[in-house]
């Protein structure tokens, strides 16, 4: 018995890219069945979809529609029961947990609804950590870069604070800084503004928008149609199937959920903040 699972040789992990015009993320015939005591539940019913470089995609749908399950297939948090997920050259549904973690370190930044900073590390240490894990940059460069990223999200004065000592918005900003620490081509955000006030939510949007300008692909799960409308492309999931996929302005009958209290305001604020963020981001990335 292998106590810790197979220890794979450190294969060279490349950053995911796609030839011009080709999709960066290719999902084919994705079926996901959850086995429960009440019987099998099919969360995804054969979804095939592509995502391209520099796209800002919002994934929307009712609770239980399968939207989080869909992005979990991209992050490798979950695996399809059948079907394939290819990102760049990597067939990620074939990777082991440990390989997936290594791959993810270089290619994917994840932003959670509840920030998920490691509570025992300061904000700057949280940002440095992905670089250490992926063995990117020299130690001195890591520190400089982490500080630049924290400045980018307006946290330079809070760099050495512990997560418990800053606000939710600041934690989420630090989490975004952490997500882009290794300059990954893809960022996946699951309800990133669900726990934030409108000003913080706007800041997050501005950041995302500018990251897209820089060539990142952002896939964001949200309930909020106003915020979803800020993305360039919106994918609507219903009952395990993609029922709409198009430019965000085309999205009709977006939601089953009410917009969050600050969402509309956030959308406006986002435009105002975008310019200052753009400037900072240029330096960081």
């Amino acid at each position: 018995m292998k106590l810790f699972g197979s220890r794979q040789p450190k294969a060279k992990i490349s950053v995911a890219t796609a030839p011009a015009g080709e999709p960066l993320i290719k999902m084919r015939d994705i079926v996901k069945v959850f086995k429960t005591d009440a019987g099998d539940f099919t969360a995804l019913k054969g979804i095939s979809i592509d995502f391209y470089e520099s796209e800002f995609i919002s994934v929307i749908g009712k609770s239980g529609s399968g939207k989080s399950t869909l992005v979990n297939m991209i992050t490798g948090i979950d695996r399809p029961t059948s079907g394939t997920v290819a990102i760049g050259d990597a067939q990620i549904d074939q990777l082991s947990e440990s390989e997936m973690a290594r791959w993810r370190g270089l290619n994917l930044g994840i932003v959670f609804q509840f920030y998920q900073l490691l509570p025992m590390l300061s904000l700057i240490e949280n940002v440095i950590l992905p670089m250490q894990l992926a063995e990117q940059y020299t130690p001195a460069e890591r520190k400089d870069r982490a500080m630049q990223l924290l400045s980018l999200v307006g946290l330079e004065d809070y760099a050495h604070k512990m997560p418990a000592n800053v606000s939710g918005g600041q934690q989420q900003s630090a989490a975004i800084a952490r997500a882009i620490a290794n300059d990954p081509p893809i960022i996946v955000a699951d309800e990133p503004t669900g726990n934030l006030d409108s000003r913080s939510a706007a800041m997050v949007f501005s950041l995302f928008d500018e990251l897209v300008q820089q060539g990142k692909t952002i896939i964001m799960v949200t309930h909020d149609r106003h915020l979803a409308a800020k993305a360039r492309r919106t994918v609507r999931i219903h009952d395990g199937l993609v029922v709409d996929d198009g430019a965000s302005t085309d999205v009709v009958d977006l939601s089953d959920a009410k917009p969050s209290a600050g969402a509309a305001e956030a959308a406006t604020l986002a435009d105002a903040q975008q310019e200052e963020v753009t400037e900072a981001l240029k330096h960081a990335t």
Partner: protein, 796 residues
């Protein structure tokens, strides 16, 4: 089944690792209680039963040869219960390995008709026929024989006699824990065959009542001595013994006492383990408790549910630990019984003892309930809001100690190392209990090695008074110069000293009776003795009738001090001697005195002569000593000397240290048991930490933390705990060593030990703690590495 009971069963069954951890924690404590209390009941009971059944002697008088008439006459003295005659002779026996050793043979007319010191038959015949030998059990082991072997005896004139061993017996009245000369039992006719006179030279007497009253025994003894002297025979020496309590009872009590303290410690440690696990269980169940409250459960009802869970844990632990404790208790008694000369009843005759079971049930219920009630009350008393929000507002106001702030400032480490370091100190209460358990286990473990060295030092100190590398005894006096010349012809002999040894009688002021003193007289400039003086000084060249007495003399005359003048009869002449010092010996009741060879040889008219020699060899190893003893024996015999015995001094030491080592092994087993409790505690702590940090591990994976990073985090945390516990263990080992050494040496030798430090204990424990922490971290680390982010999200 009512839902609340279904919940209890589900809680027990769903988290089997946690259930196993709590049950194991309770089991170890209850097991230790069962084992030690079984030994506590079985051993003293067997000890006293065997001792009383053997009808131990109260008065031993050595005199000139006598017959049945004197025995009859003594037995008619008021106060005498029984009187018997014994002939005690000493011959040389060839051991199974071919070397020679002296054996004491005790003879009576009919060994089957004894009323005093009745032997307990182990195997073979109870009564030897003529020219047959019954052997004492310990002697069989020392000499390397078994039942049916033919032994070879060498008589004074070189005649060889062969005798079969027809039986193995145990003398349950045996009173000497430290020096065991082989002993055998023969008939009086056999004595004649061995070229000794077939008559008695020892009168053994029991008193008719008050066998624990030393004064009563002394008064009867005075009458017996008077009767013997009136028959025209001198009394060479008298020894008196009380017989209500086994002579080894105090040692047994001390060992059992130490084991009991260790047992209580294990119960205490297992209690801390249980507290840790139950704390974690309640923390994990906070939301469930909130939900139960939300649907109407009252605090008392929730408390009852968790108390029932604790009772279920206890029931499982008791089912395992009661039978195991009984078996281990019997085996522990068995190990101790061989050391303290006790015959145990068969295992089958020792059923589960109600008192032990009651104690185990009490400990098995009281400890978990006692330590569990606090987290349960805390958990059951939580408000619904706090329960469903994971602690509510209070939890967000995290107060930080200076320690937390210091940890946050540590910049020397990076990444996983700093995470592991800070993680270690997050659950401080849990860490403290784990460290306490591991450090105490380690402290005891290290201390046991120090105690071993201290005990061996004590043995060296004691054997140094009478044993050199080789003790050479002759059947008669020879000129010391002559013996020296012959000895130096043997390669390996460094130097030799001739010692005068004789018996004297000290006239104790205000008492009619005298106290026998065994007088040793090495040369005044002897290099062999390093005395431990309680008062005064050692004898010096130029001293005139100066004597240093052992501490036993203080029980005869508590006011004795250096400078006192006492009357001692030596060789029939009473003279004034000056006490120059009191030295520490073994705590034996016999009085030993050291004077100079020059003084004593003059008193006994044997100047320049001695029958007892001490030889220092160039190599002090036991093998060398044994080899040289054989050479010395052969060399002197070949040259016509009447050698009584040439014995390696290391053999005395070996015999004594073997017994000490049995106690050490017992302590070591208990220390290991403590260490196992500590390791279980560590494994539990790490598992609970991981359970509570599942989300963080998932996040780490989400940002690129691969398997070995996750494993490393847990392993480093385990090793940090191991390292801190080692440092604490090293610190607490000092006081533990002192207390343990003193308790044992005072029980056995009636004097405290010198504090000694053994690097072995520290080294072995450092290795062991590294292994234990690694093993204890492996499973939690593996579990952590196998966590997937999806599981983390479902945990959320």
């Amino acid at each position: 089944m009512r839902p609340r009971y279904r919940k209890v069963i589900a809680d027990l069954w769903d988290n089997k690792a946690r259930t196993a951890l709590v049950v194991a924690s309770i089991t170890i404590g209850v097991f230790a209680v069962g084992m030690i209390s079984t030994a506590y009941l079985v051993l003293p009971e067997a000890m006293n039963r065997g001792f009383v059944a053997a009808s131990p002697v109260n008065i031993k008088v050595a005199t000139m040869p006598f017959g049945d008439d004197l025995i009859k006459s003594v037995s008619r003295i008021p106060g005498v219960g029984a009187a018997e005659g014994r002939q005690t002779v000493e011959v040389r026996i060839t051991k199974a390995d071919g070397s020679l050793e002296n054996i004491e043979l005790i003879a009576t007319k009919d060994t089957g008709m004894h009323e005093i010191n009745i032997n307990n038959l182990i195997e073979g015949k109870q009564v030897p026929d003529d020219n047959e030998l019954l052997m004492w059990r310990d002697g069989m082991q020392t000499l390397g024989f078994s039942l049916g072997d033919i032994v070879t005896l060498e008589l004074e004139d070189g005649t060889i006699r062969k005798m079969p061993i027809v039986g193995v017996v145990d003398d349950l009245t045996h009173d000497n824990a430290t020096m065991r000369q082989p002993r055998g039992y023969i008939t009086l006719d056999t004595v004649e065959w061995l070229q000794f006179e077939p008559i008695y030279n020892n009168m053994w007497v029991t008193v008719d009542r008050d066998t624990d009253d030393g004064n009563y025994i002394a008064s009867v003894s005075a009458e017996v001595q008077s009767k013997i002297e009136n028959s025209g025979r001198p009394v060479f020496f008298v020894r008196e013994f009380t017989s209500a309590v086994h002579p080894m009872a105090s040692i047994a009590q001390a060992v059992l006492g130490i084991l009991s303290i260790l047992g209580l410690l294990i119960v205490f440690l297992s209690g801390s383990l249980i507290a840790n696990t139950l704390n974690s269980l309640i923390t994990q169940h906070t939301r469930q408790i909130g939900v139960m409250k939300l649907i109407g459960a009252r605090t008392q009802q929730i408390t009852a549910i968790y108390l029932i869970e604790i009772l279920a844990f206890s029931a499982m632990a008791l089912a395992i630990s009661i039978p195991l404790g009984a078996i281990a208790g019997y085996e522990l008694s068995k190990v101790l019984s061989t050391e303290i000369n006790v015959i145990l009843p068969d295992r089958g005759a020792v059923p589960l003892m109600p008192l032990v079971v009651a104690l185990q049930v009490f400990v098995g219920l009281a400890v978990p309930l006692g330590v569990g009630i606090f987290p349960i009350r805390r958990g059951a008393g939580i408000t619904v809001e706090d329960a469903v929000t994971g602690g509510g507002k209070a939890a967000n106001k995290e107060s930080k100690s200076w320690f937390d702030r210091t940890m946050e400032k540590i910049k020397a480490f990076q990444g996983p190392m700093v995470i592991a370091l800070r993680n270690t100190f997050r659950a401080k209460g849990r860490l403290a209990l784990t460290l306490f358990t591991l450090a105490l286990g380690g402290g005891i473990f290290i201390a046991v090695f120090n105690v071993r060295i201290a005990l061996h030092g004590k043995v060296d100190e004691i054997t140094g008074y009478f044993a050199a590398d080789v003790n050479l005894d002759f059947d008669r006096n020879y000129r010391t110069e002559e013996i020296e010349q012959f000895a130096k012809q043997i390669p390996g002999v460094d130097y030799i000293e001739g010692w005068s040894i004789t018996l004297g009688d000290i006239h104790v002021e205000g008492q009619q009776a005298t106290k026998e003193v065994i007088m040793f007289a090495p040369p005044a400039d002897s290099r062999l003795i390093e005395p431990v003086l309680i008062a005064g000084r050692w004898v010096r060249p130029g001293d005139q009738r100066a004597i240093a007495l052992n501490e036993a003399y203080l029980s005869v005359n508590p006011d004795a001090k250096p400078g006192d003048q006492i009357q001692i009869s030596v060789n029939g002449k009473e003279k004034t001697w000056t006490i120059v010092g009191i030295y520490q010996f073994t705590g034996l009741p016999e009085v030993f005195g050291y004077t100079t060879y020059e003084t004593l040889s003059s008193e006994i008219n044997s100047k320049f002569h001695a029958s007892s020699y001490r030889i220092a060899t160039q190599d002090h190893s036991l093998a060398f000593q044994q080899d040289l003893s054989a050479q010395i024996d052969a060399h002197f015999q070949k040259n016509g000397f009447l050698v009584k015995e040439a014995q390696a001094g290391g053999e005395f030491r070996e015999t004594m240290t073997e017994q000490m080592d049995t106690i050490i092994w017992l302590l070591l087993v208990m220390a290991l048991l403590t260490a196992v409790v500590g390791s279980i505690g560590l494994a539990g702590t790490l598992s609970m930490n991981i359970l509570e940090r599942t989300r963080e591990i998932g996040v780490l994976r989400a940002i690129g933390g691969y398997n070995s990073i996750v494993v490393r985090l847990v392993m480093i945390e385990g090793l940090i705990i191991g390292l801190i516990s080692f440092l604490l263990a090293a610190a607490v080992s000092f006081p533990i060593s002192t207390v343990l050494s003193n308790v044992i040496t005072i029980a056995i030798f009636k004097s405290p030990a010198d504090f000694t430090l053994s690097p072995n204990g520290f080294l072995i424990w450092s290795l062991l703690v590294a292994i234990l922490t690694t093993v204890a971290s492996l499973v939690p680390a593996r579990n952590a590495a196998q966590l997937t982010i999806r599981e983390v999200l479902s945990y959320e």
